[in-house]
């Protein structure tokens, strides 16, 4: 490794996971991902250190770091903080320049984002303060059904029916699910109903911002094939999924922005 090479990092500290991506000369060089803790500074640093270890680098080797996610307000290691909405836009544009619409479903919020050909945000909408329709919602449901979070989607896809869910509040949905199980509904059909109820919420967000192809799915929930299918049905679109872990898109976008900020500030010349 030559010291004249330039490395840029993005660190995304979300409510459930902390993620870091290091770019080397514009290419993804290393990543780090772990469950985030209460201390967002430590979570971000741990994710960054994971990525640094994977890259064989030290923090001092990084030219510029951008922090994003809810932890960005306390990220002393970062040169700049940017919201994850902007970062997801940049990350999606980096991987697929033809993407114009992003569905980002993270731990505690979901976002509908429309972007232009440069990855700049044109419009966006987010869920309200309630955590319904987010990763945390699915985590709670996985706990109710005693199944692994990553298996939820496949179980939902095996359903023969869709049980309507009358409540989309995370806490109330849990009790409603328990009563549906007690009523004898099949778990896969309930889970299918849960996925469709979340998908309809997402569709509601898009009524505000509109949809233009290509449509990209990022965030931890994008790993869930049942959710992808439900959203495709609700929005009547085909979704592009990233080649890398979809949880890393925010951190990737932050790293892309780090490169661009460093250039603007004269810290690096292409």
């Amino acid at each position: 490794m030559s010291l004249s090479e330039n490395f840029f990092a993005g660190v995304d500290v979300g409510s459930l996971a902390a993620k870091a991506v290091i770019l080397k000369d514009g290419e993804i060089f290393a990543t780090g991902l772990l469950k985030s803790g209460v201390n967002s500074v430590e979570s971000g640093l741990s994710a960054l250190n994971l990525a640094l270890d994977a890259a064989g680098l030290k923090k001092e080797d990084l030219t510029y770091i951008v922090g994003t996610g809810y932890g960005r307000v306390s990220a002393p290691y970062a040169n700049k903080a940017v919201t994850e909405i902007t970062c997801h836009a940049k990350g999606a544009n980096y991987l697929h320049p033809t993407v114009r619409t992003i569905i980002d479903m993270g731990g505690q919020d979901c976002k509908a984002i429309r972007i232009d050909e440069n990855g700049a945000v044109v419009d966006f909408a987010m869920n309200d303060k309630c955590a319904a329709g987010t990763g945390r919602f699915l985590e709670v449901m996985a706990e109710v059904f005693k199944v692994k979070l990553e298996d939820l989607g496949a179980i939902a896809l095996s359903a023969t029916d869709t049980v309507p869910m009358s409540s989309t509040c995370t806490v109330f949905a849990e009790s409603e699910t328990i009563s549906l199980i007690a009523r004898g509904e099949k778990p896969e059909n309930i889970l299918n109903g849960i996925h469709h109820s979340i998908a309809n919420r997402i569709a509601g967000l898009f009524s505000r911002v509109g949809i233009t192809s290509d449509v990209f799915f990022s965030g931890g929930v994008a790993k869930n094939s049942g959710m992808k299918s439900a959203i495709e049905q609700a929005l009547k679109v085909t979704i592009v999924r990233p080649e890398i872990d979809p949880q890393l898109i925010g951190a990737l976008g932050a790293a892309v922005l780090a490169r661009s900020f460093a250039k603007k500030e004269g810290l690096w010349a292409a």
Binding site: V82, T83, I85, T86, V121, D123, K129
Partner: protein, 461 residues
Amino acid sequence: MGTQLFRYSEDNKEKFLESDNITFNDGSVVTPEEIWHYLTVEGPEKYPGSFEVNLYQGNRASRDETLPTSLKTHYLGLTFSDRMEKAKDRGKSIAFIQGGQAVDPYTAADTIALRPGLVNQWYGGLEHGNDINKANLRRRKSKEKAFHDMSFEACQTGGYEHVQEGDLRIDVIAPYTVLRCSDVSYGVEAHRHGPKKDVKLFNVDYPLRYQADKPWAIEYFAQNLRRLVGTLDEVTGRVTTEEDVTKAIQLHNEGRRLGTELAELWWSADVPPTNSADRASLVALGNLEVHGDVQASLSVLKEAKKFIAERVRNGVKGHAVIDNPKRIFILGSCVGINGSRSEDAGAIVVGRDDQWSHCTSLVEEEGDPYYNLAKTTLEYPYEQSIEKRAHWTIEQIRKSRADGVIFIHNWGCNTQAAVARPIVDIIKRETGIPTYIHELELGGLQHEQEQNRVNAFIEML
């Protein structure tokens, strides 16, 4: 973790001491020396929360200290509760009213008119020594209790609670009901059935919207205003004449003119002459009701206009305003964004429609004062149909050279939540300016979710 308190710097004291006195309704005067003493000695002891350096107040170690009227609005805010208590001790009558309405008839009837936010401010200031968290917990406690007492959640419930609990010496509940907000109407209905019956209740029945061109509606509302003044007179024991009402209109028109001129002066500047918070607090003086003292508001407003003109002339930029900030116009009732945190993110708030609509509505001074008041009130741009309100808002957005618009509605504010989307759609369609709709919880401190959305919008701009 120790709390760091902001202190006004002695470096600016000399300039401040050269500024004007504040004259109050009762003829009393407070000098800059007395204000300075309050802001540097008494105020920080009584209300440490207001001097706390923390994230909610932008982590800023200073306010706009070189703008004397910024300090004066701070003073009026801090002394509000004490002044209301003193007014009551002197036998002054206080009415609980609706937000978004002018207070000319109340001024005419020698009654202090307080909208829900001010009622909460009065209650908040009764307890001393609270840091920002304790002060907020106190407000939240009232809100939660009111939710249960009224058995529904609305955004403005403190007024109901404080009257029912007897926390505040309010003499009469007399809002223009059905004006822009469902929550005060709900609160009034709850009062009607509440256990505490010794507070007079009078509904100034505002005809359902979009009746401004109908003579019967103007006459009907004028009759209501006459009855309102009659009710206020029953409380005070005095007789308010038409001449008193005309004089009140003239006085309030002076405030409205000055407030409008100040805002337009601010908009005309190449660089923002104040930050978001100072702009808002100075323009708000135009309605003369914000500090519960018409004359005090007017005297600070007059001086503020002079200072802003000087800043605009000299190209002075407001405290902590960045170069070329993105200009944001805020829509919605009883809402706002955190000015300092949004400024840190690269923006500045250049206007709001709330309270501004009736500030720009001058009342005819010749003829029947009740008819004139009724006519103007029915013509408030904020109260018109969605299409009309949107077009008036577009005018304000253009005048203020806003780059983006955020429509905010509080949790529980059904009226504004319902109109947000169509208004924003018209604005977007006709101006092409980016817009965002945003829901807030009234009176909270933990606004990370909301600020995240605002910051993303600013980045988008």
